[in-house]
């Protein structure tokens, strides 16, 4: 008996060819890449992993001074550190993995040009490795939360059962980040100027997301609708509502965000597959 063909190489014209089995075969690679990303990030730095904590803390202080202090933007009655930290933790996860992934093809051209593995393993590993950072920052949030809840303002924060949505919210954030970054990385193989644009775009995007202000300050109903069109908005708001008891939990918003994520992921996979087949020809 002849063993069956284990590899069949074709022009691959089908648009949506996920080949999850193949990705699963490379799960070890994915996890090793995750480990590499985590262990090498702060190697040979003075403070090491502490940077995961220092960076959001410093950002929070800056926001407290600039937006809370000078600009006097409301935090929905929440203590400023809690408000900003909760937004920053989620936003950082989304934005960091997005910017990091946007150059997947260009950054890894050397590897991709020499050896085959499902390219999606790369962005996937980044999204997973950033989860650790998110966990640490959420831990930091928890510490600050405990300080307020138990000591500074006992019982003033109304955490509720909707906090259980957190895993779903994180998956949605990861999905969005993955979708956007895959779309972007596919385009940057052709247009390098998008790399420059992305940093700028992500900066702007943050201001269109209720990170430094609560959605409730947007009273103009048209502007409110526009805000809700941003699929990240309802995720951040839902998290704040569950964790801190203040915010807008909109099921419609979450459903919309989920739908957008699914559509974008499909689109991203199609583009990504199309690019990964032949991008070596024009990198």
């Amino acid at each position: 008996m002849e063993p069956a063909w284990s590899t069949v190489i074709t022009p691959n014209n089908r648009l949506l060819r996920l080949n999850l089995r193949e990705v699963w075969q490379y799960r070890d690679l994915c996890m090793l890449l995750v480990r590499r990303a985590i262990t090498t990030q702060y190697k040979q730095t003075l403070l090491g992993v502490l940077w995961f904590v220092i960076q959001p803390l410093l950002t929070t202080v800056i926001y407290m001074v600039v937006f809370g202090g000078i600009a006097g933007i409301s935090t929905d009655g929440l203590p400023q550190p809690l408000f900003y930290l909760s937004g920053i933790a989620l936003w950082n996860y989304f934005a960091d993995s997005l910017t990091k992934n946007a150059n997947t093809f260009v950054d890894n051209a050397a590897i991709f040009g020499k050896v085959y593995f499902p390219r999606i393993v790369m962005p996937l590993s980044i999204v997973i490795s950033h989860l650790l950072r998110l966990a640490i920052q959420l831990g930091l949030l928890l510490v600050v939360y405990a300080i307020y809840q138990l000591w500074l303002m006992p019982g003033a924060i109304h955490t509720n059962g909707y906090l259980l949505l957190l895993p779903l919210l994180i998956v949605m954030l990861a999905g969005h980040s993955l979708a956007f970054s895959m779309l972007f990385s596919s385009l940057t193989t052709k247009y390098r100027d998008l790399q420059v644009m992305l940093t700028f775009l992500v900066g702007l995007w943050m201001y269109a997301t209720p990170v430094i202000y609560p959605l409730s300050t947007i009273t103009n109903s048209r502007l409110h609708t526009v805000m809700m069109l941003n699929p990240v908005t309802s995720i951040v708001e839902a998290f704040r509502y569950g964790m801190l008891g203040v915010g807008e939990l909109s099921w419609w918003g979450l459903a919309y965000s989920f739908g957008v994520m699914v559509v974008l992921l499909m689109l991203a996979l199609v583009t990504f597959n199309k690019v990964q087949r032949n991008f070596m020809d024009h990198v």
Binding site: P3, T7, V8, T10, P11, T39, Q44, V115, D193, H282
Partner: protein, 434 residues
């Protein structure tokens, strides 16, 4: 015999120039002029200058065209051809770095290549971590790497530094470590592109050694791309010849090398001359010049360690006074290397009308590998007179021989120099100072 790899109608097209202008601004501008204003593509000129083919209109380049062949399991196939013939593109498609435009490749088993040395090494990670990472990139599972870890570390010879970040490694150690991982991938189908490994003699030697070991020991399939005909001849059983993206011929390695070399020659290695155009004069005409090996078989190339015969058939057109022969050998640059005269006693008297044949034997282990041309002459003594001296008519290709006595068996790369004589070395002895 079952096939390890089947190539079916593989074609690959590249579009030149006009895929994209490189920046979004220019592409939008192009889209605007072409689709909205219905004008000509403002960037078309850029594409045109890139086009090397004679057809100026087409900006499509055919890197591979309708390649079909099968590789039997356990075979060692040499893929040869000039630069740009499509060898590397074929390997790239086989290793799935780029996809074919049409056609299908089917393969049994893991495809590994010895090019991917140290792919994905991260300078901050230790040797051990990098072995895991590199191995996983090449397609090994974590458990598999763990099983082979000792062997890999052993082979690399980096045991002492295995838990040190590789940024502290010397470049040689990095290559050894990388190669060691690649060598332990144990693919069912091994791809070796020597073209890309040129320059590092040590590496080449190891790669070729591993290739032989893999093939002989475990009967694995090897695809070998090389410019070095001697290596192909030594290592490969079968071969395919690519020319301008098309499959020129396939067959045994020797046959394919033959075709390749005869296509490369400025002059053929075997020439027949008919009628009046044949080189010569009114007395003698050369009818055929070719090479034979010691068994008398016609050959188009030789090995530097072999005796090779130049056989000349000539026609004496009328009864003429006896004469003798001579030949000249020139190298590829036209440098006259030597003259040789027939040292047999010439017949006395008259040579009758008819066709004759003579063979002169070039000794082995004198000439360096390369291309040589030969001219032939007829002359008489007493008084000395050249009856006819042809121009260089045929060309001899001499290939290096891995088993030549002029090379140490463990040295596998080039031996430079103009000639390759056997030199006698006496054994070193210790000097005793009195």
């Amino acid at each position: 015999m079952q096939n390890a790899v089947e190539f079916e109608h593989i074609s690959k097209l590249y579009r030149l120039g006009t895929i994209s202008t490189g920046t979004l601004r220019q592409d939008l501008q192009r889209w605007w002029t072409m689709r909205v204003r219905r004008r000509e593509d403002p960037w078309l000129q850029i594409g045109e200058t890139n086009d090397r083919s004679s057809k100026g209109i087409s900006n499509i380049v055919r890197a591979l065209h309708d390649i079909s062949f099968n590789v039997a399991t356990g075979d060692v196939v040499g893929i040869i051809g000039k630069n740009g013939a499509g060898k590397s593109t074929l390997l790239k498609i086989l290793s799935r770095i780029t996809s074919p435009t049409t056609g299908t490749i089917r393969a049994r088993g893991r495809i590994g290549s010895l090019l991917e040395v140290g792919t994905g090494f991260h300078p901050e990670l230790t040797g051990r971590d990098n072995i895991y990472l590199n191995g996983a990139i090449l397609g090994m599972s974590k458990a598999e790497i763990r099983r082979k870890m000792d062997a890999i570390v052993d082979f690399s010879g980096c045991e002492r530094y295995i838990d040190t970040p590789v940024k502290r490694y010397s470049s040689g150690m990095l290559v050894r470590l990388g190669f060691s991982v690649a060598a332990h991938l144990d693919p069912e189908i091994l791809v070796v592109d020597e073209v890309l490994a040129v320059g590092d003699a040590e590496f080449q030697k190891k790669a070729i050694g591993k290739m032989q070991e893999v093939n002989r020991g475990e009967g694995r399939t090897v695809l070998f791309v090389s410019h070095n005909m001697a290596a192909v001849r030594n290592l490969c059983r079968t071969g395919i010849l690519l020319e301008n993206g098309e499959l020129q011929c396939s067959g045994t390695a020797a046959e394919v090398i033959d075709t390749y070399l005869s296509g490369q020659h400025e002059k053929p290695a075997d020439r027949c001359f008919n009628g009046e155009e044949a080189p010569g004069n009114s007395e003698i005409k050369i009818r055929r010049m070719y090479f034979v090996d010691t068994d008398g078989h016609t050959v188009s190339y030789g090995l530097i360690s072999q005796r090779i015969g130049l056989r000349v058939e000539y026609e004496v057109l009328q009864d003429i006074p006896a004469f003798t022969h001579g030949a000249n050998l020139y190298d590829a640059t036209g440098l006259h290397l030597f003259t040789t005269h027939d040292n047999n006693e010439p017949q006395a008297g008259i040579v009758g009308k008819g066709t004759y044949q003579t063979t002169l034997w070039l000794p082995g282990n004198i000439l360096q590998a390369g291309h040589y041309t030969l001219s032939f002459a007829f002359m008489r003594y007493n008084p000395f007179e050249v009856i006819y001296h042809s121009e260089p008519l045929i060309q001899l290709a001499l290939l290096d021989d891995m088993e030549a006595p002029t090379r140490h068996p463990q040295y596998k790369s080039d031996l430079p120099g103009l000639i390759r004589p056997v030199v006698e070395w006496s054994k070193a002895e210790k000097l005793v100072v009195k």
